[in-house]
Amino acid sequence: MPHSVASEGSPASHKDNEVLPDAPPATDAPNGDQKNEGAAAEKTTAGVKLEDLFDDDDDDDNEFPASSAPVETKTEEAPGPAPVQVDTETMLAFYQRLFPFRYLFQWLNHGIVPSPDFGNREFALTLQNDAYLRYQSYPTADLFRKDILKMNPSRFEIGPVYNRNPRDRKTLGAGQLKPLAKELVFDIDLTDYDDIRTCCTKANICEKCWAFVTMAIKVVDTALRQDFGFQHILWVYSGRRGAHAWVCDPRARTLPDDRRRGIAGYLDLIRGGTSSGKRVNLKRPLHPHMNRSLEILKPYFAQTTLVDQDTFASTEQAQRLLSLLPDKGLNDSLRRKWESAPDRSSTNKWADIDALAKTGKSSTLNPATLRDAKQDIVLEYTYPRLDSEVSKKMIHLLKSPFVIHPGTGRVCVPIDIRNIERFDPLSAPTVTQLLSEIDSWDADHPSNGAAEVPEGEGSVPNASDAGGSRKLQDYEKTSLKPYIDYFRSFIASLNQEERDGKRERNEQTAPEVKSESMEF
């Protein structure tokens, strides 16, 4: 059912891959082939010719940053959502030198030894010609890296772990390929806030409206941790105007769809489209989750909605605010007041509600209903608007962390939840910036630089980690380092639990197996 998978306008909708070329785009094919040959030859013999090959390779690597420099200046001039086309060579250089394949592998594999958790995991590649290649899978981190370098996709997405290798799906009967596990994911996108943000629309964002994402992350993260008891939640900047959450606890990964729907429903509050009138109608007393969320959101409402966005400044929005209030008498006096002072700010308007209510002009006014309505309004204007379809299905694909958003050139970096307030999407590193950072570092440290061939390869899984004299990996020379370090620590704590869990499970299941087989 592609319709259930495909989110709005995502390329998942052209899922049919019969039209897709098997070969990678012509431009980077020679380079990739050369590399493969080189690697193959290395195992057999190391002759003079081989070194020639490597030299070629090296030249290529050094060419990339130079060729991408003009693009970089362009992004400097127009930061933010101005469409930046990341050219294929920059992309390839990023995959070669910076992309943390090894850590991505460890994250999905839940350990060092390659397991079906990684081997049967679906990847979906969007190639440079916009073709969409689903059901890719890789046994090891090396092969994963190799294929990504060969295909040089503009981005790729991560799907579920299947019971069989998804590449074999054509040889399996219908319904034989079943998804077993995937991280529970959430998607927050600022386009869903368009009716309440005044600063930007569509794909644009600024610091002011990013606050909506910050508060949404806080609310969702708190609920997932406190209510559902999840611990390993990775928040990732989606590269443009939103954020993704990957809940990686083993318990979350194996949730069937109806439980995912349960969580999505639990967190979902703002229902109904534009025609649904008052969209938040909570029962009282408030559910503890709502109560807590309200406490988290109140300061944001005061700052973001009332001051930064000044949401109720326009007559239309003020009208909408009135339509959400319960008492007719109060509304009439508010309307009169605001009409006489058209420039009244949102903060004042919000304060007017209580001020006028206290004067007791309206005889029908019930203070409790007014308080409840105000709470509902606070929630309607600040509560997270999740794209819940993403969370409901195990088979939903979601863009991988650390890929580059093709529209902005920004890397989808993880967001450290402890420093959530300090994260600024507009200063998330762009690919061109990172590549030039490597260059300038190399220029500053000529002795240590990556001119000495093979270490130029970002996170090659077998890169030497030995001691203090080791060479720096490329990402360590750039502003990507803190993000990758955070990702590593996240993986470390996840895999720590995974190891403990596995041991426990083995101990538990061992006796069971025995008793079962006795029956035969």
């Binding site: 592609p2 306008g9 052209h14 209510d227 109806d258 489209g273 007393p285 408030l286």
Partner: protein
């Protein structure tokens, strides 16, 4: 085929495979006695029954399940369903409580009833495990039957039954309850004090319904469930076990070592689980002779039910529809007989702000997929999805921010609904009041039919008078395409009359 070799089994474990030794041994499985009225159907039946019994019992149960399903498709309330089902159950599948007999559970009458219930369940399980669709429907109907019986059971027996299930529910200590009292009361609707109830602590995964409705207190992955919400948990457990069992049965089915006595019966049974969902057959919504092209949709939209009209209006207003709205509308258009080419043309023209490339890469595929022009083998053979029925539209997920699909009667606020109706030219006060009442009682399809009858009052009358009403049958409408077809035909009748 590679089979595991039996000889490789550890000799110690093979011992009881020797038929000579097992021939006169006591069977390891016993005849079941049925201490409780209800049954979780965990143990398969082992006693012998005749072929006639096999068939008759299965047919009786099937009748019940079909009726239950029909009730749910007609959107009947729980009370209406109970009233409808109770006499049927009494007739075909009685199941009496222990208290109905002096000797309790040992009464042979009770035992026979329970045996029939037990066996018929397992026979149907065999018959309905073959396809995904049948499994899902079977699990759904059985769950509803179980829920119905569970609610009707008397308290003491229910208690005993639950105890016999051995579910791992941890009860909440008094101290903990006092500590969390405030949260518990706030989280659980309709409760004033937390000490009125016994509370259980279970993994939240066991009560997804409660979690989804946000009507249970959660902490650290545990749900604090009051005793009266047991129903939800038991039902969830029942469904989960049944689904798992059906899955296993389906895998075992190809290896069913069977002569040709059972297979025909089983096949016959599964075919007779007449799907109430498929009241709509392919091509049913087509109207002969009606000129249906991309250009005529605007004109025809006056015959569309409110859900589709609202989609059409927002499409015209915004020059765009979100995915689910597009899907719902495309399938409807397919249902009224719009060809694929015309449909693509229709969408292309409607999406004004997009270039051809954007349209082709983002939207065209979905339209083609809905028509079965592309996609997997199953999709193509089935010519895409069938147009959505009211049932489907009502029960699918609520439209989210900016989405327009769904049923206006259900998903719009009452004021917006009335506004929408007025914008389509319905102003009659009595009618609107009627609609309000229906919507309050969640009888959405009745509201829709009420509007239909009102807007076609004159034509229906005429049609009844000249006898053409029999051609255009006048049942309750439960499918948007039926709405269109009937509306269109009625107007034609009206026109024909005027002409002659």
């Amino acid at each position: 085929m590679i089979r595991q070799e039996f000889n490789r089994v550890d000799p110690k474990r093979r011992a009881n495979l020797n038929y000579k030794k097992t021939q006169f041994a006591t069977p390891t499985f016993k005849q079941q006695d049925y201490p409780h009225r209800l049954n979780f159907y965990d143990t398969p039946p082992t006693a012998e029954i005749t072929l006639e019994q096999f068939e008759q019992w299965a047919i009786d149960r099937l009748k019940i399940l079909a009726e239950i399903e029909a009730c749910s498709y007609r959107n009947k309330t729980a009370a209406e369903t109970t009233a409808h089902i109770t006499p049927l159950l009494q007739k075909f599948l009685p199941l009496s409580a222990n208290t109905s007999s002096r000797t309790g559970a040992t009464d042979p009458r009770l035992k026979n009833e329970r045996q029939k219930d037990h066996y018929s369940h397992f026979i149907l399980r065999l018959a309905f495990s073959a396809t995904e669709d049948l499994r899902r429907r079977f699990a759904r109907a059985e769950t509803m039957l179980f829920r119905f019986r569970f609610q009707a059971d008397d308290t003491r027996e229910r208690r005993a039954f639950i105890d016999s299930l051995n579910l791992d529910w941890e009860s909440v200590s008094d101290d903990e309850r006092r500590e969390l009292s405030e949260h518990l009361v706030a989280a659980t609707p309709g409760l004033r004090r937390s000490d009125e109830e016994t509370w259980y602590k279970v993994d939240w995964e066991k009560v997804p319904e409660l979690v989804e409705r946000r009507s249970v207190f959660l902490s650290k992955g545990k749900a604090y469930v009051p005793e009266r919400e047991q129903l939800s948990m038991i039902i969830a457990e029942f469904t989960a076990r049944l689904e798992r069992a059906l899955e296993l049965t389906s895998r075992a089915l190809p290896r069913l070592d069977e002569d040709d006595r059972l297979s025909p019966i089983l096949n016959h049974l599964s075919k007779n689980f007449g799907s109430a969902e498929s009241v709509y057959t392919e091509g049913e919504g087509f109207v002969d002779g009606a000129p249906i092209t991309a250009a005529s949709i605007d004109h025809l939209s006056q015959h569309f039910p409110l859900c589709m009209r609202s989609l059409h209006m927002s499409l015209r207003k915004n020059n765009h529809l979100k995915h689910y709205g597009r899907l719902q509308y495309t399938l409807f258009l397919k249902g009224i007989g719009l060809s694929l080419e015309e449909c693509i043309l229709f969408w292309r023209q409607s999406f004004k702000g997009f270039t051809d490339d954007e349209f082709n890469s983002r939207y065209k595929y979905n339209v083609r997929h809905a028509y079965g022009d592309v996609g997997g083998d199953v999709n193509r053979r089935g010519r895409g999805y069938p147009p959505y029925s009211c049932q489907k539209i009502l029960s699918d997920s609520n439209p989210g921010v900016g989405q327009t699909h769904g049923c206006p009667y259900r998903h719009f606020s009452v004021d917006n609904l009335i506004g929408l109706l007025q914008s389509t030219g319905v102003h009659d006060k009595d009618l609107l009041r009627g609609v309000r009442e229906d919507v309050e009682k969640t009888r959405y399809h009745i509201a829709c039919n009420r509007v239909f009858e009102f807007t076609h009052k004159a034509e229906i009358k005429k049609a009844k008078e000249d006898g053409s009403a029999s051609e255009i049958d006048l049942d309750t409408i439960v499918h948007p395409n039926t709405y269109f077809k009937r509306s269109y035909l009625l107007k034609q009748v009206g026109k024909a009359q005027k002409n002659s």
